[in-house]
Symmetry: D2
Subunit: 424 residues, 4 copies
Amino acid sequence: MLKEEKVFKDPVHNYVHVQDRTIWDLINTKEFQRLRRIRQLGTSYLTFHGAEHSRFSHSLGVYEITRRIISQFERNGYEDWPQEQRLVALCAALLHDVGHGPFSHSIEEAFGMFHEDWTCRIILEDSEIHQVLQRIDPALPEQVAAVIRKTYAYPIVVNLVSGPLDADRMDYLLRDAYFTGVNYGTFDIDRILRLVRPYKDRIVVKESGMHAVEHYLLSRYEMYWQVYFHPVTRSSEMVLRHIFKRAKELYLQGYSFRYFLEPLDALFEGTLTTTQYVQLDEAFVQTAFMQWINEPDELLADLCQRFIERKLYKYIEVDELNAEWLCREWHAAGLNPDYDIMFDSPSDNPYDVYRSGDEPTQQHILLWDGHDQVMELSKKSDIVRSISGIRRGNHYIYFPMDKLQAVEHRLTDEVKRMFLQRKN
Amino acid sequence: MLKEEKVFKDPVHNYVHVQDRTIWDLINTKEFQRLRRIRQLGTSYLTFHGAEHSRFSHSLGVYEITRRIISQFERNGYEDWPQEQRLVALCAALLHDVGHGPFSHSIEEAFGMFHEDWTCRIILEDSEIHQVLQRIDPALPEQVAAVIRKTYAYPIVVNLVSGPLDADRMDYLLRDAYFTGVNYGTFDIDRILRLVRPYKDRIVVKESGMHAVEHYLLSRYEMYWQVYFHPVTRSSEMVLRHIFKRAKELYLQGYSFRYFLEPLDALFEGTLTTTQYVQLDEAFVQTAFMQWINEPDELLADLCQRFIERKLYKYIEVDELNAEWLCREWHAAGLNPDYDIMFDSPSDNPYDVYRSGDEPTQQHILLWDGHDQVMELSKKSDIVRSISGIRRGNHYIYFPMDKLQAVEHRLTDEVKRMFLQRKN
Amino acid sequence: MLKEEKVFKDPVHNYVHVQDRTIWDLINTKEFQRLRRIRQLGTSYLTFHGAEHSRFSHSLGVYEITRRIISQFERNGYEDWPQEQRLVALCAALLHDVGHGPFSHSIEEAFGMFHEDWTCRIILEDSEIHQVLQRIDPALPEQVAAVIRKTYAYPIVVNLVSGPLDADRMDYLLRDAYFTGVNYGTFDIDRILRLVRPYKDRIVVKESGMHAVEHYLLSRYEMYWQVYFHPVTRSSEMVLRHIFKRAKELYLQGYSFRYFLEPLDALFEGTLTTTQYVQLDEAFVQTAFMQWINEPDELLADLCQRFIERKLYKYIEVDELNAEWLCREWHAAGLNPDYDIMFDSPSDNPYDVYRSGDEPTQQHILLWDGHDQVMELSKKSDIVRSISGIRRGNHYIYFPMDKLQAVEHRLTDEVKRMFLQRKN
Amino acid sequence: MLKEEKVFKDPVHNYVHVQDRTIWDLINTKEFQRLRRIRQLGTSYLTFHGAEHSRFSHSLGVYEITRRIISQFERNGYEDWPQEQRLVALCAALLHDVGHGPFSHSIEEAFGMFHEDWTCRIILEDSEIHQVLQRIDPALPEQVAAVIRKTYAYPIVVNLVSGPLDADRMDYLLRDAYFTGVNYGTFDIDRILRLVRPYKDRIVVKESGMHAVEHYLLSRYEMYWQVYFHPVTRSSEMVLRHIFKRAKELYLQGYSFRYFLEPLDALFEGTLTTTQYVQLDEAFVQTAFMQWINEPDELLADLCQRFIERKLYKYIEVDELNAEWLCREWHAAGLNPDYDIMFDSPSDNPYDVYRSGDEPTQQHILLWDGHDQVMELSKKSDIVRSISGIRRGNHYIYFPMDKLQAVEHRLTDEVKRMFLQRKN
């Protein structure tokens, strides 16, 4: 333990408290400091200009919520909580996002990577983080990684760090709401933290906390549709993916980049080491894009310019997608169907408002009656039951308005009516 | 005017409203979008992890406050406000920070640049901003630049955009308080905005707003000492300046950088064009520093690593500085007095809590009695009078603790006692 | 108009602005000032100790929201808004609650009164309010009363003051959330106020405001179940009603009260004049109750003591009520089934989360596409559609635990198990 | 201890936590519940309509802050804190205001009472509070009363409950700011609570908390002048005092009141028992005043009407008072100098922004260096030193404008110019 508690001033939790030297040392590793250069919400800052907050902030927040929950468990001496697992849980909470890359969702999709894998590699391979953990206990790195992988011997620790009511989600909802400035994401976290309990292998909530949990789920619902799936953000993500796709394509074709920087080659070839991986941050990626504005390859240059100067694709919402027909039309008009049109149906994306089922899984929230009964949330909550059946299917088509207007004379009337006579 | 008002969601002002097409077009220029990649508080995010907000956000906020003030003037039909100056004022408010470079204060000091100059150059020379302004009126670029330079023919416009109670300061106090999470910076801006009045060539405040103005000045005082002059932030700024100094030194010595990128050469030689200047952003600088960690020059590599991995210099506070003596000691111990020790006396820095004088200047706040009398604030406010005489002289010495510890055996007892037996 | 705008500092809207002399004069009438002595949430302060705010605050808030909406309509010059109706709408908004009595819901139920009727009587009969209105225009009192009665010739004014998205509801959700301290009631009122439009005879919302309206409806849902229907509040309301019932019973029996004050007799006999009515406030009622603690009638004295000293009835929640059986059991045990047990099924209470139907009524929210189409909200919003079918049926039984325990030996096992072995 | 912690939802501290059965039982006594009917800020609700919060809320808040401080001390195991004093301190914190009467400051001044005396009498004499305390330990009532009287054997307990940085002041600043809606009163209480330490017989603050303490003192300064000494509030307090004065005068003259209620006679004669005292609350007083509007004594009736209907005295601010001359003028004009004019110089009122001195007293704030040095705050803080010398001398004259206007023809020109040609 530290001789004296250290604190970080945090706009969401007011203060983040550090009492363990191990946590303090982990925060000061270069791999953790790198999270300052990875935004929590990727390209959302192009829609909500306040959303410039980093995964560093979020990771501290997740750690702090976990610390508060465990401290409540210890203060009350609940027997179902394995006290010796405190440090494993705190480390896993702090480090759970350490493997995120720059503009994580887009880069993962473009290169078939998974940030959980990188998180585990950073913890297990030779890194400052690994050294800090190992100094405490040679088994600790593997234990922490097991929590991330959800294979840890104590399911309750896994459930605490990544369950349906976990510290991760609670922090990001509050934090993203704070920094974007929307007021959908605020729920009564103090009440939830006071009413969660360890119960057998699970984190459950006392029945009297049901309304606070309902409010938390409604907040999530609103945040997903109003912030995370905002079409302007999706547009910028799609431009981003196209940049990665085009650059990789060119690299594999042997194109000679005027500006090229290690370890981009290892990224394109899929041979990144962890040392190389942690060199990738959003400053690196943005700098590459800014330079590529001057690349001779017009497609790459145009996409980079759009991203850097926020000249994004426009979008229309449609009832259903007829992708095949549109690609033909695009082709006929002389546009590039691979790059000049993109389709998006955000309901395809992971979206886990609680859905009730007969057999509660790890993803279900359980209410506890204070004695020996637990009940799955939707059995008790009218509003959760009623929203759990919602299936939204929004379909969007994104396109470069300027390029489309340039070939207006070649477009069919139907396409013109659909794309040029609407605006957003 | 836009057919329909546009809004930006803003955590500080809730919404930023845009009604003029010119403002909308200026926001969409690449020079203005670049401000997204310049942090409002430079390196403060290394002290307050929430302080990742950009000059883009701040510039929108300054514009919004200015818009609200002018709209209040227009609604009430005050004669001393020249209504036809609305657009000039709004453009100057929006663009006043457009010339800021990456980590502005440090880069300016290192290279002898002034962001006001760059703001004017960007407005006057060939830029997207220039084009937007000129399209409205060929005289507009020069008018806006004149407001920035404080030479505009209408002093009230200058006073509105950069007076002692201007939109700039009001926004940054509120915004920096919000994003750092400290609660010193909150004052009653709504009351101030309701009670400012145009009076002859000045913006004045109705007497009944005196308490709100006092609170605003106290907020400034607190923010300066607790956020802007925070020693950890100063430490990171000093590391930053040393990096710039060392890199320039090496460049002028003909050192061959392993990683070097245009337009760094123009920066080092002092020949930057505006086109080159707007390529410089914080992503660019951070990427350079991250690469330079691998430079053969150990000094540069070490400084860059410290900055990127937040392994900053430690500090001690002293009653007075004996710089000469310390540099000798440093030298004797084999340390580099040019890079391994830094001195800082933040009271030397511009710090303008209101000071009263016999002749009110443009920097004085005037209270208006609602009829024909104005009175300089400190004549009326006990608390402003009492704080205006404060002269704080804090002195700090910054140094790399690890390097000092490495030569501990060569240090005199006095130096050891002073630097090694204290902690912060 | 006032020579200079007046303001009230308000924690919810920051400032309430008064520009019209008529509004200023209405606020200063004794009938409006009386609202300071009527709590907005009746007995809720016994559950949420912060909920001590008055109907005076709320009425100012409703006025302010209405003023902002109308001001937005005027600024944008919408043709469907009848500009000359501004003052009628503002007066109706300000005065809509002026007829509320002390602990309004309970007193209305106990004596078969309706606050809307009293509002109209105060406006139309001889009162300071009537005089202020009449001075402007002899027709104004009748116009304002017609808005309250929903019979006014301009349905859009009625819809603004009491529609499904009216200033009344928006203010009370925000205000009650603020003063109770719960955070369910916060929605983005600024966005709604910016996006409401006059459309034919209705107030509608632009489509882009749909999410804000969803959030507003979810807030209402949460506030109803967590604040307005809170069982402790219901318990105190039921004690209150029993006091009124017992006192009236005694009065009609010719009981001689030790403490009795005009105009209680007129209240009990149903002959209150408006002059008498405005003498009734919560101070008056509480003072009577405090004195009645010393009445010889034990039942009245006991109920009053419970209310004043907050020794409320306990409650249990049951799946369904078997009132007849319980009253028999109570009687058999020597308890008084008329006063020692109370039943409550809050779903019987007015509860108007939006329900969609084929024909939009005045109570439906309409979304407007910006051109010529309006669509009823639930057609477009998945979440509103999904929650609109919720029918909650909670049943509670309230009883004096001490009295029940005193006759424990006479209770059947079933009653003991049900009432004495549970706790809340 | 309670089997399960109980909580109160609180807008200022989010939750108030009760773990001890004694505290729970104290809250449920009739003497403590009576505080719900005493406003925290007396007549301030007539100036700030949100300020309807009760001493009940405030007392819970003071208890909660004290609980948090003690819990921090216990968690860290500081030796200077006498752990067995926990319950005494908590009870004293909770009960410190229990002796406040209705509109406390005015009634105390009118009848020469002191709420501290009543607090002690309620604790020591036969009351429900006394019984709860005595059940725990027969010595407890006397111990708690000794803390209130500042004579307790453990000075650190006294210092915690009523020192210069005590739970009382911290709660009321935050609470009054919240309910009035002004934003002057917000300081970083979490930081202060984290950095207070027991040190010998005192509560001190770690040096690193200096800025938070400065901010707390500045908040106090602002709250005093902008809320507590607001002239409209002072005006209503003076009307109130005149009512008490006139009623007592009439009572002693043998006047026969049409409405008179026990225990008013005991109040007027100065023979109140505690049982009688706790019958006095603000509902009681307001009801009396409302009835007295119909008393034949015109002076009493007029004053009561002014108070109930908020038709207060107007005021002017003057540089210095010439009371004697004005009373003569009033008399000459046929006005009553005893009731138709009132003087107020709020600097006469207790106002204790920190003043530095050579010998730190119990009222001084001490900074602790973490080792063995304490230093009185103003020695270290420039801003505290600079504001501690402020002596504000505002002088106000209050008068009934309508009465003055009625005798306008009899006023001298000087009086007319002074009182009738200004407005507020």
